[in-house]
Amino acid sequence: MSRRNQELLFLLLAGAVSTMAYVSVYASRFREIDTVAVVHALAFVGIFLLLHIVERLLLPQADPFLLPLTALLVAVGLTEIFRIKPALALVQGQWLLVGAGLFIATVVLVRDHMRLDRYRYLVGAVGLALLVATIVVGTTVRGARLWIHAFGFSIQPSEFAKLAIVVFLAGYLDDKKVLLSVPQRHLLGVPVPAFKYFGPLLVMWALSLAMLVFMKDFGMALLFMSIFVALMYMATARGVYVLAGAGLFAAAGAIALNVVPHVQDRFRVWLDPWPYAETTGYQLLQSLFTIADGGILGAGIGRGYLLFPDKSPVVPDLQTDFIFTAVANEMGLLGAVGVILVYLLFVWCGFRIAVYAPDGFSKLLAAGLAAAFALQTFIIIGGVTRVIPLTGITLPFVSYGGSSITANLMLVALLLMVSNRTNILRGGTELERRRLAERG
């Protein structure tokens, strides 16, 4: 079976499962199976079939698993959002449409991801500008400055900056990897690369620290720093960067802990939430109670206790940062682990694409995007389950939020482009090869 036919088969499977889940929630909410529910579900399947057709035309040899996995995660998110607040699910559905548009735009306009390498400094500058703009004109929501309000929309620029930074770093590090991995001198007997090449690490550290201090956003700072360390390591295969990165981030964390009260609260609550059950620890404890309540099999989608009698969610921010809490409650341990496995499969696909990619830039781009995706997932799921301190970032594809879903659909587009190129170079048809050459 060709890659595209495999993808179609998986998509239809994912679509069928999603439709059943959505219709059952709809039925439990409105006590009837309405044509509206079926229309919603068909629209959802239609959007992904559209993306599938775009792939058939432009990325014929792209990985067949990523899009169905994405569809599954989006379906889980839409269903839970609908279950928490039906009106928001329609908005999220529109964001999915916008995201699909950006996915197509990325594939059509970028044509070949290798072209991005040529504009790496421009892309990097855009990423940096997005972050600086957030710091300068952003608004503070719940203690963290993450949002820019413009034209009636709220945008979370860091989600897009994440992509831009990975593109830039992949290109930059691929260029400089030899220089970075060859020690130039020794410091206390330890071989250390030249400061000139070591510099980016410090720039990134300063950027993370700025995000912590100005945006008060521990989650994104941790994510950016980890992406950078992971890429440095993958480019140079030198463990010293991991140690240095961890050390620098710990230092940044220690500074933030003493300077930013918001971060301090989060840390204290993480260590021991019980004394703060009615105050700063309320949200985390309610999340833990709600998750624990799911048990092994869960309450059933649409049947968990997620809303107070007045319809406000039992955990504040349930549809965004705490969407995993809702998933765990209603789908139980089995469902929650299933969702984590879907993420793991997604990440595995990303790394597989990186391993098979023929050139350094493609490798670092795919691996960087996959690592970013994995880390973001870990940071937020770990946060709401008290593995690490809670930080407000979104769960990719599942959380409510336009920036998150559109940025992550672009991430999928980039991964698919890398795999398409790899597969064509390794064994595509003559026609596919010629088309690829024309695009680049």
Binding site: A230, Y233, M234, A235, T236, A237, W274, A277, L285, L288, F289, T290, I291, A292, D293, G294, G295, I296, Y305, F308, P309, K311, V314, A328, G332, L333, A336, V337, I340, Y343, L344, V347, W348, F351, A354, V355, G360, K363, L364, A367, A370, A371, A374, L375, T377, F378, I381, G382, T385, R386, V387
Partner: protein
């Protein structure tokens, strides 16, 4: 590069494994622990989806019912607020208390043995309906008790001495259950403690009402009879201290019955020392002191009576010198008692020396109307023999006919009782009355305590007792 990438993937995968391990711990291993945390109010909210059983008075009227609003059942109190501290609150935000807490499994249909329909519901995974509780509280009597306490601080307990059934349990100041969530801050900080269930949680100096216990021990020991002669000089000097009478009165020659009738402290102090500390305390234990009365309320909502030190209830054999014994025999020193305990003392005398196990839930009624549990009266303690009980009964009748409690007398019905007046030292008194009626065939025993009054037990507490006894005895149907 590929090796480094597969290492990074391995790290990512390990992080996900950490998430899965932690989730397993949260959702499978420790799930029940999280459910049981007091900070976790989720179960209450979930149970609001269940049609909570009604709490009915003994006459079948609804004391606490439910109304359904947008899929959730909320408590409603159609009879006005009756016995709020006993019934307890049921709040998503503040939890539960009283009968609502103790019988939550029955009221939410989660207990076992709640009828066929309930069993079938559970078998089919349907949401069960809650079972109803029929209390022994008689709303008409309860209303009188609450009205009598209105504007005062104190408690009234009325029970059937032959069964132990609680007929009325009033606590003042009181509050409105339906406004609990709105007024929680004010109610929980009010120095008058309206949330406290005084009948079972209020520890008061029993004062002279305790003399019934002393007399019971004295008569049992054979060291005194109702006719034993004493001489009162107004002061009894013992162990370097002295015992005096209320108001500095001097009674001269008296017998034990007169000492009970007029509440002569010096005589009871002497009887106490003739008994000695061991037998005095043992007599209290026979009536239930030093034990938590087995009334069906949550732990902590019924407290034991006895001698209290700084760290709570003292051991029965804690040291007392003869002066301590003398004052303890008059219900002073470190002796503290709940109104429920003092009602059980009166009930024990009324019931020929047998203290019945107090209870408040008469029946558990399945949602389909089937009675699935009925409380059978049981004897709790053997406080004294019938002979002593009869002698006490006669002495206590004299208290009402010609002693300190004439205000407790009822037209055409012999009432037996004992007053108590404990001076708090700030000019106010704690006024007590314990008693029962009809004296020859007791059907109701009461304990009344009024705090912060300028009057005596005979003036402040006895009239309330009379009103409650009258209301109870005019009922055709008592538990």
């Amino acid at each position: 590069m590929n090796r480094a990438m597969s290492r990074v993937f391995t790290v990512a995968a390990l992080l996900f494994v950490v998430l899965v391990v932690n989730l397993t711990w949260l959702m499978a291993v420790r799930a029940d622990w999280f459910r049981a945390r007091p900070e976790n109010k989720r179960s209450i909210a979930k149970e609001m989806k269940i049609k909570r059983g009604d709490i009915l008075g003994f006459d079948g009227s609804v004391m606490a019912g439910t109304v359904r609003r947008s899929g959730y059942y909320h408590r409603a109190y159609p009879g006005g607020t009756l016995a709020p501290q006993l019934i307890g609150y049921d709040s998503v935000r503040y939890g539960r208390s009283g009968i609502e807490a103790r019988f939550n499994d029955e009221l939410t249909g989660q207990a076992t043995g709640l009828g066929v329909q309930n069993w079938v519901d559970k078998l089919l995974g349907r949401r069960p309906k809650g079972a109803h509780l029929k209390l022994t509280i008689v709303p008409d009597v309860q209303r009188v008790a609450q009205a009598e306490l209105d504007g005062k601080k104190g408690a009234v307990v009325a029970l059937d001495p032959t069964t132990g059934a609680l007929i009325a349990s009033a606590s003042a100041p009181s509050y409105d259950l339906s406004g609990l969530e709105d007024h929680w801050a004010r109610l929980s900080e009010d120095p008058g403690a309206p949330l406290l269930n005084r009948p079972t949680q209020g520890l008061y100096v029993p004062g002279s009402s305790f003399k019934v216990v002393t007399a019971s021990g004295g008569l049992d020991s054979g060291k005194v009879t109702p006719q034993t002669k004493f001489v009162d000089t107004g002061t009894y000097v013992v162990f370097g201290g002295k015992v005096t009478n209320y108001g500095g009165a001097v009674y001269g020659p008296n017998d034990f019955t007169t000492a009970m009738t007029l509440s002569i402290n010096t005589t009871f102090a002497k009887v106490g020392n003739r008994l000695g500390r061991t037998r005095l305390i043992a007599s209290a234990e026979h009536y239930g002191f030093y034990q938590t009365p087995p009334l069906e309320l949550p732990a902590g909502e019924v407290v034991p009576s006895g001698r209290y030190g700084k760290k709570g209830l003292l051991k029965p054999d804690a040291f007392m010198d003869p002066l301590d014994v003398a004052w303890a025999a008059c219900g002073q020193e470190k002796m503290l008692a709940t109104p429920l305990q003092m009602a059980l003392v009166a009930g024990g005398v009324a019931n020929g020396g047998r203290v019945m196990k107090p209870y408040v839930v008469q029946e558990v009624v399945a949602p389909d109307g089937q009675v699935v549990r009925t409380t059978r009266p049981e004897q709790w303690l053997e406080a004294t023999g019938a002979a002593t009980a009869d002698q006490l009964n006669v002495m206590m009748q004299r208290v009402v006919t010609s002693g300190t409690a004439t205000a407790a007398a009822l037209q055409g019905i012999e009432v037996a009782g004992k007053t108590g007046t404990a001076e708090k030292g700030d000019g106010t008194n704690l006024a007590w009355f314990i008693g029962f009626a009809p004296a020859d065939d007791p059907r109701v025993a009461v304990a009344v305590v009024v705090e912060d009054t300028l009057s005596t037990g005979g003036e402040a507490a006895a009239p309330l007792a009379a009103a409650v006894l009258k209301a109870a005895l005019t009922q055709t149907d008592l538990p």
